[in-house]
């Protein structure tokens, strides 16, 4: 059978019903079919982290995920981090305030992974931040501003 398969899943809290070939990857669906270009195509092999998204609340790589495997699952892309009224997430604001990007290509992936870290560990050390972001490559910043941004989110959490 070379037919398309209907897949029902949730994306950024909205129900999605798509008809895709079994070999369609989530990154292509997001960027090309749905026009959500926040998720970046950096390498296509899982090595750069530019396509980081959440699947059922856990970080995953859209370039390695078949859409047909997403039936019944909840996907969150970078577009789902700001509120519907456009208010940015505190992590996104921290990136702006700490000059944590230059070209911005790695930024969506960095935000996804940084928020994932802070959700598990509200006050991470620099080492913990660098460990958690190991799978996300930045070619511009040298990571300093990114680490500073994530650290600042930790410090702002009052006991």
């Amino acid at each position: 059978m070379n037919g398309k398969i209907g897949v029902h899943f949730t994306l950024n809290n909205e129900s999605q019903e798509v008809l895709v070939s079994p070999n369609v990857l989530l990154i292509n669906l997001l960027r090309e079919e749905l026009g959500l270009t926040g998720t970046k195509y950096g390498c296509g092999t899982g090595e750069c982290g530019g396509c980081s998204v959440l699947i059922d609340g856990k970080p995953a790589l859209a370039c390695l995920t078949l859409v047909v495997s997403l039936s019944g699952k909840e996907v969150k892309s970078i577009e789902g981090y700001a509120k519907p009224d456009g208010t940015l997430d505190s992590v996104q604001n921290a990136f702006i305030e700490n000059r944590a990007f230059q070209c911005g290509f790695c930024t969506p992936g960095m935000v996804v992974m940084s928020k994932d870290l802070l959700d598990q560990n509200p006050n991470p050390t620099e080492l913990e931040i660098r460990e958690h972001l190991k799978g996300n490559i930045c070619r511009c910043t040298g990571y300093h501003g990114i680490v500073k941004a994530v650290k600042s989110c930790g410090q702002s959490q009052q006991p």
């Binding site: 070999n23 790589l61 370039c63 078949l66 047909v68 994932d116 190991k134």
Partner: protein, 288 residues
Amino acid sequence: MNNIDFVKPENLEELQSILGRLQEGTTIIAGGTNVIPHVRAKHFSPGLYVDILDLKELAFIREDEETISIGAATTLSELESSQLIREKSPLLQAAIGQVGSPLTRNRATIGGNLADASPSADTAPPLLALEAKIQILNARGESRDVPVESFFLDYRSTVLKSDEFIASICFTKEKSGVAFDYQKIGLRKAMSISIVSYAAAMEIDQGTCKNIRIGLGSVAPTPIRAFRTEKLLQGKKVDRELLEEGCKLINEEISPISDIRGSDKYRRVVTASVFKRSMERSLGLGGE
């Protein structure tokens, strides 16, 4: 454009029934962290994806009195955060934490890493040192256990037949006080294909080495045990002279190639160095 189909078995029985059809191009996929890059690089052409990532019967971490067993579809991040693994198999946990990145570990599975059978499969050296057994099931529900050192036949080739799959991996719990070490040498702190990887477990009794097991990755067509080096050290009081002998012998056991990550000569130097430094650390010998 090829005909590709997709199916997601809900239980083991369904998986076995699908495999029993012996359909051309049947490709078991879990996290997809190896399968998708292979397909995109046209290393093979899948006809039917069989998605087992959510197959709960294959995702578990269990212990009984003597052994730990891990379901093939257990993700590496589940293993990494498992208290049982942290307490009862620190060697495995040390290795798991260096595989890929936090992103891939959320999806990659231990069974997938073994079935992919790369010479640098990162879960292999620690499982070799732990003398693990791989439980293989077939479409008819028949089971066989294969020691991990016999599982890999050649470069990217395993004993798995086309109607078989890895069900679980199990190993005997180490006694307390067993010394272990894991070293992965790579070009990057994450997502790097190992240049050399090394896992060792041994009992040390007043400077004498007992029951030593060494697993090596990326230095042969398959992950290997350094049986001859182990035999050299077994039951002996380890001194610098013996370690130098071990360095020479371990170099005879490996057959590294030159590739974009390093030359064969470099891999030989690194393997000997990792081995020597690891032994020095475990025995408290101090570096030179």
